[in-house]
């Protein structure tokens, strides 16, 4: 199955090269080749879940043996199901180390699925100014970067893949985006680069202090190779870098512009998986490598996360543009995920993991729908939209479903992350975390308020002129094919959350145990 590990990175890379090299006349054929490559990558991603290496050492089932032997692959919290470890630059002690486990697997599958849906969508609809094959090629390169980030088990390799994503995403926004695309793309790249610089400094702090860049070793050591001050410094640098990506309030202002101006497929990938690189990085790299620093910084992180929830929700309540509203809702949702991480207990981390997946599915769907509405009505302004269910009932119905899923209705995917982030906060106990839990729950009520306001303005009421003039009210087959998996997943993950968190139980418990018994 290490072949699958390589395949899931190599197939999109080769596909991207092939698609970009094809001539302009074969644009549609090139897009089909790209979609095919994305499909093959999804297959490879699914195959990664088979034939897993068994878990050794302290497991979720027997917490009594917790913290017995840190150090060595047997007792490390990071025990990949499949692993690939090749020497890359022996002189610099860099290794090409890939691996997948219960924490990264759902994210890899989500990335492959969303990329496939986006490539399929581009087959049907290429935004201005055309040249769809280049858009598909860039999407495939972004997929390589994101999947590589989730699979990398070496810090420097992680950083390389982290950076691979930036320029293609910049190009996607800057070429195929809306009217304000140049400014939005520039802001996105520069802001994220600022975070990346800090991330790089943090990584080098860790590597210099501990002498290794191997995530498996580092997580097993649980920061014992670094002094307390170094750990806190490393965690802060890493956390700020990831916080820009997640995004965490107040480092979020690149997000609304980028999402609003990006083309539909760009927004879907951006919201669906790019943001998850930040939170995944926090769990895997920041918390795993510098747990003591994490514990000291946890209250700050928790407060900022809850601020993100409340500020995101309040701003959404006053929003007047469709895509911008959904963008700010991402700030709120990632606030719940970050709250779950900040609690540093198993419940919180599980909540964060399922919150990640749920947000990717639901917000990806929401951006697809926003794109469909803007294409049909030629406006995203809430004042000018209205009465969508009169003219396009199918589209209004799916929008209603997505909005209801996003507000965290129990029974759909979004509920588990939000509710159990609150549970995790209460489990930590103490006055600060109890207050944070209460305020986060209030944020849930605000989320309902702004999403229902959105539905009232867009779908209910009499048909506004922009909506009444829609010439293609029925859903196209390509749209149905692109959205159906997301709708089904939102319901299935909502009813059976064990599908996502079941496989992460062991790694999460082991990680939390090293937090408790790590270097002091």
């Amino acid at each position: 199955m290490t072949a699958a590990l390589v395949a899931v990175l190599a197939i999109p890379a080769l596909g991207a090269v092939l698609v970009a090299a094809m001539p302009a006349q074969a644009d549609r054929a090139a897009r089909m080749v790209g979609t095919f490559a994305a499909g093959a990558a999804l297959l490879a991603a699914l195959l990664l879940g088979l034939d897993r290496t068994a878990w050794t050492g302290p497991a979720a089932a027997d917490p009594g043996t917790a913290g017995t032997q840190p150090g060595g692959a047997g007792g490390s919290p990071v025990q990949p199901w499949h692993e690939l470890d090749l020497a890359w630059a022996p002189g610099l002690d860099l290794r090409f180390h890939l691996g997948v486990d219960g924490i990264s697997y759902p994210l890899v599958v989500l990335t492959a699925l969303l990329t496939l849906l986006c490539c399929g969508y581009t087959l049907w609809n290429v935004p201005a100014p055309g040249r769809g094959r280049l858009l598909v090629a860039l999407l495939l390169v972004i997929e390589v970067g994101i999947t590589g980030t989730f699979l990398a088990l070496d810090l420097v390799l992680f950083f390389v893949f982290f950076e691979v994503v930036l320029l293609p995403m910049f190009a996607v926004i800057a070429v195929w985006g809306g009217p304000g695309r140049r400014h939005a793309a520039r802001k996105f790249v520069l802001y994220t680069l600022f975070g990346s610089v800090l991330l790089l400094v943090g990584i080098f702090t860790v590597v210099a202090a501990t002498g290794t860049a191997d995530l498996v070793r580092l997580t097993a050591d649980a920061g014992s190779g670094m002094s307390r001050t170094t750990q806190l410094l490393a965690f802060t640098l890493l956390a700020i870098g990831f916080a820009v990506k997640s995004p965490l309030w107040p480092l979020h202002t690149w997000l609304p512009d980028a999402h609003t101006e990006a083309p539909t497929v760009g927004s879907v990938v951006l919201a669906g998986v790019l943001l998850k690189m930040g939170t995944y990085g926090l769990i895997r790299v920041a918390v795993g490598v510098a747990p003591d620093g994490a514990e000291r910084a946890a209250p700050t992180l928790g407060v900022l996360a809850v601020a993100a929830i409340i500020v995101g929700s309040l701003v959404c309540l006053a929003q007047t543009e469709l895509k911008r509203l959904i963008a700010y809702s991402s700030v709120g949702h990632m606030g719940f995920v970050l709250l779950g991480i900040a609690t540093l207990n198993a419940t919180g981390l599980q909540a964060a993991l399922i919150g990640n997946i749920a947000h990717g599915i639901i917000t990806g769907l929401l951006f697809f729908l926003a794109g469909a509405i803007k294409d049909r009505a030629h406006t995203g302004d809430l004042v000018r939209l209205g009465g969508l269910r009169e003219t396009a009932p199918g589209l209004a119905g799916v929008l209603g479903f997505a909005a209801i899923a996003s507000l965290g209705l129990p029974g759909l995917a979004g509920f588990w992350g939000e509710a159990f982030a609150v549970v995790a906060a209460f489990r930590v106990g103490g006055p600060l975390w109890t207050v944070l839990g209460i305020v986060a729950a209030l944020g849930g009520a605000l989320t309902a308020a702004y999403f229902l306001r959105l539905l009232r303005k867009v779908t209910h009421g009499p048909a506004a002129p922009a909506v009444a003039g829609i010439t293609a009210p029925r859903l196209a087959p390509a749209e149905l094919v692109a959205w159906a998996p997301l709708v089904v997943l939102a319901l299935v993950v909502g009813l059976l959350p064990a599908l996502v968190i079941g496989m992460a139980a062991d790694p999460v418990t082991a990680l939390v145990t090293t937090l408790a018994t790590g270097s002091r």
Partner: protein
Amino acid sequence: MSPDTLGPLLPAVPFIAALLGLVWPGAGRRLAAALGITGAAVALLVAAWLALTVDGPYGTYTELADFGGLPVTFGVRIDGAALLVALAVGVVALAVQVYSVAYLADDDRYAPYAAQVSLFTAAMLLVVVAGDLIVLLVGWEVMGICSYLLIGHDRRLPEAPKAAVKAFIVTRTGDVGFLLGIVLLGVSAGSFRIADVLSAVAAGEVSAGRLTAVALLLLAGVAGKSAQFPLHTWLPDAMAGPTPISALIHAATMVAAGIYVVTRLFPVFDAGSVPLAVLGVMAAVTMLLGALAATAQDDIKRVLAWSTVSQLAYMAAALSVGATAVALFHLLTHAAFKALLFLGAGSVIHAVGSNSMAAMGGLRRGMPATFWSMTIGLGALMGLPPLAGFWSKDAVLAAAQGKNGWVAVMVFTAGLVGVVVTAWYATRLWLRTFFGTPRSPAAEHPHEPPGVMLWPVVLLAVPSALLGFAAFAHGFTDRLRSPAPAEWVGEYSGPATRAQALQEAVELVHLSAAMALPLACLALGVLGAWLAWRRDPAADPARVLGPLRPVFANAFYLDAVQEVAVVRPSRALARVVRRGDESVVDGAVEGAGRGTSDLGGSLARAHRAGLPRAATAVLAGALLVGVAAATLGGLS
């Protein structure tokens, strides 16, 4: 089929019917109606079968997910009370599905409507049988979203979307407390299973302060869902939804879910004295608020809506004095007669073409079956013997009278005053709608609705009249009591504690001289309304309220209070935060970007020097470097 599989079928069957109805491409009217009616009928049959065959309470579970040591289980926890409530839900849901076929005969969006009603039925049944707090929350909130979807169903009503949003937001506000209560309870007990929670409470593992906090938080959700003061404002506006929905969701089932949950988790509320006292105060205030508001409404549905608010307060009052079986008894009779009243009102509205009682009058001549059914319904509402409502309301008053303490006295007094006012407004509705001369052209030629609409109304009159007599049957009263922990099959049996005290046989009927007082109040109310009407049959008896009439009609202006105290500040805060986020937080980022480009620009300008200045700069720099090297070299 074993009870283990039948229990989960109760919510599963309507859920499947709902899914099929929602995703089936091009579902026609007949298929949609068939799915809806079949779903409700099967649920009813399953409930009836379980009620007849299962003799003891039981629970069955399977784990759904494990969040770091806190498991969430899917399972059912079925006792006699759960089955009786499930039966009531099944009956009313089936009646509403059948009724809707004719009521929405000219509606092109009937198919999603029927599917949403099935989804609602599934959610309500899930709340009734859920054995895990998180699963209960799922059913609870799905009911809320179905209520939102169905209130906003009618496109022709401009006020419907706003009413739908208001209903969801007000109940969601209460649900924040509900979620926090569940979270706190689950974290304290170490599990979300209701059986484990109740065992932990019984064993004293949860501190008293915490239990009080949990109970008060849960009461917030109960107040929202069951439309008790101060979260009652959504229910009258929810009447913008189709009338069958008002019958199902906003009278018989969803609003009763709050009361039901309190009985289910009663040991949590009973642990201290504060939660039940708070509930008692809420009940007393709401009882009178609802009844007085109903006296001055012109819209027939709004009268019934306020009446529901008031009757729910009676159930809450019974709970606040610890009489859970009595509360459930009133819940069941109320489900029957309120569903009857709403469906009957729907027939009247259908005939007259308007909700307003000012356009009705003399309808009994053209609609005899509806007239007699509604008479029975209104009689039950008032508490007229020997109809069902008399027995259940009397049981509530008797329970309050039998207890000591200021809560019981307050609740009893409010209950008696409520009887007077209820009789008054019920008589007013009866006289204004069915007697006197018709006040509009449509009312002059009323007709009975089609059979599909008429039969559910007539059939519901049977339990409205006779259900009260079930209080004499031990089989019925036995099922309403809470079983002791040791009786549960398939559940963890905790230590036998105060729950054992509930094992005593429940007596719902107290035939005594104390019945005379409520009857006297009833007569007072009826007489008052009749006299006011008789003086001028064409005018509204509410005119005798004089200056109080607009106050009651606007429900003491509490809607306006809510708008000013909550809605407007939230919107203003949202605007402020948005501006702050855009100008301050983003302003810092944009400012940093601009500052950097400006700095770069000025440095570029500085470098764009002409040859003389550049040569001077080079020579000056060389001099500086030479001096520095000499000085520093000399020092070392």
